[in-house]
Symmetry: C2
DNA sequence: CGGAGTATTGACATGACTCAAGGATAGTGG
DNA sequence: CCACTATCCTTGAGTCATGTCAATACTCCG
């Protein structure tokens, strides 16, 4: 199990970390403090931290992709978010991490010790507000996902997911149509509250309906954005 | 519609606000600042604020119960949380409220203007941290609910919900077995991502299985806590 | 090539939803 | 006090989307 996790797996390694610098230039107060922080690298499937680990650091993803998730003892899993370069992870943890963070591709993160963060907050009220806003943003995203999982059909969920990724990409590098999926079907299924079979079938349905191309299973090309938006049901989409 | 909301409805008014003071004595830094704040009262079904309203205040529930929810244009609704006396609502809103807050019973809230809150944060770093923690707590609850809705069966969801309410009551007044439901079946269904029919059927099933008594539809008595916990599946429950 | 991990597809089962009817509860007005 | 009405809750029958189980195919890598 542990050994397996250290071996970078097949599909994941098709994605070579492009080390895209975070799109937001390091202007805000939090980023200033991050500059001198240590950087750690992880292979695909390695954990940055696990659920229940003492929360020692806050991290910013520099390159790669991270899957934030929680586990139930019987093996059921809930993916809570995917973190992309520029995103913070480990925020909102008090004492210990309430969710695990696992790299889905080769990943590097910048590490800010919690103790240092606390000092910064004490001396710089702006940072406290920044943190508050960052967590508020996560709360918003969590509720959006809650909505998606609770009220929408499989078709709507996956369409919404793809559109959210598309918008995320657009903000980063301007490519709206092509989406590289840095996560497996299992990850997607566990995010959307579906099974991998349903995810796979829905992908196939989209392809048959001419909404997307799917030459490789990790490369989605949106051929009919309006159709996909219609399949998503509503403008309201995750993230 | 508006008129209807002002008329307190039947079931809801069976619950007379007991005006229980918040269990936590007003020791923490946020509560200090709340003491001089104005109090506003609402009838059942009245809104404290609506989704999209400019976020002018943060509120603490003094008595009664509030349903926090979001709407989709086609009428689908997601209840995000129920606020009890002592709980804060309206936190984490930046600019405008991302969710609506509707009293489910006669309710009174203490109102703290956002502008004042901002001033406080600037002058008192502890409050910034307090806010951060409060929102983190909400984030945790939202993810717990996400888990519930996404991965669990109707039986597990409702059992977990009842146990969560039981624990909430226990913390407040020590009564573990008796639960008064300050919300309708619709509210419960929209929280758990079910239909009212399924909620009702599951209640009936619990009664037939001897897990609960249900003399009135708003009064649940847990007769077999272990059985209910088993039905909930896992120790991990919402809130 | 062979093996491990991952993805697709099919047949079938089922839990929850939908639609529809009827019962319970509380407020209202005669 | 008793209809009368508006909500709310319960129950039943039938349907459907998604899950489950099982077999096969694809991709990468040693």
């Amino acid at each position: 199990m542990l050994a397996a996790e250290l071996i970078s797996t097949n599909y994941a390694n098709r994605i070579r970390a492009k080390a895209v610098p975070p799109s937001r230039p390091a202007k805000d107060s939090l980023s200033e403090y991050l500059a001198p922080c240590a950087i750690r690298a992880f292979e695909a499937k390695e954990h940055i931290y696990r659920e229940g680990d003492p929360a020692t650091h806050v991290y910013r993803v520099e390159a790669g992709h991270v899957c934030i998730y929680r586990m139930l003892t019987d093996g059921r899993r809930q993916v809570v978010d995917f973190a992309y370069p520029g995103d913070f992870i480990g925020l909102g943890a008090m004492g210990e991490h309430a969710a695990g963070a696992q790299a889905t591709t080769r990943t590097s993160v910048r590490c800010l010790p919690i103790s240092v963060l606390r000092d910064i907050v004490r001396s710089d009220a702006r940072v406290g507000l920044k943190l508050y806003e960052a967590v508020s943003q996560e709360l918003l995203a969590a509720r959006e996902l809650l909505f998606t999982v609770s009220q929408r059909t499989a078709t709507e969920r996956l369409a919404g997911f793809l559109l959210a990724l598309s918008r995320r990409n657009a903000r980063r590098d301007g490519n709206v149509a092509e989406i590289v999926l840095p996560m497996t079907r299992v990850d997607i299924a566990d995010l959307l509250g579906l099974t991998i079979e349903t995810v796979s079938r829905t992908f196939t349905k989209f392809r048959n309906d001419g909404l997307i191309d799917l030459e490789q299973c990790i490369l989605v090309t949106i051929t009919d954005p309006e159709g996909l938006a219609a399949a998503a049901g509503e403008a309201r989409v995750i993230s």
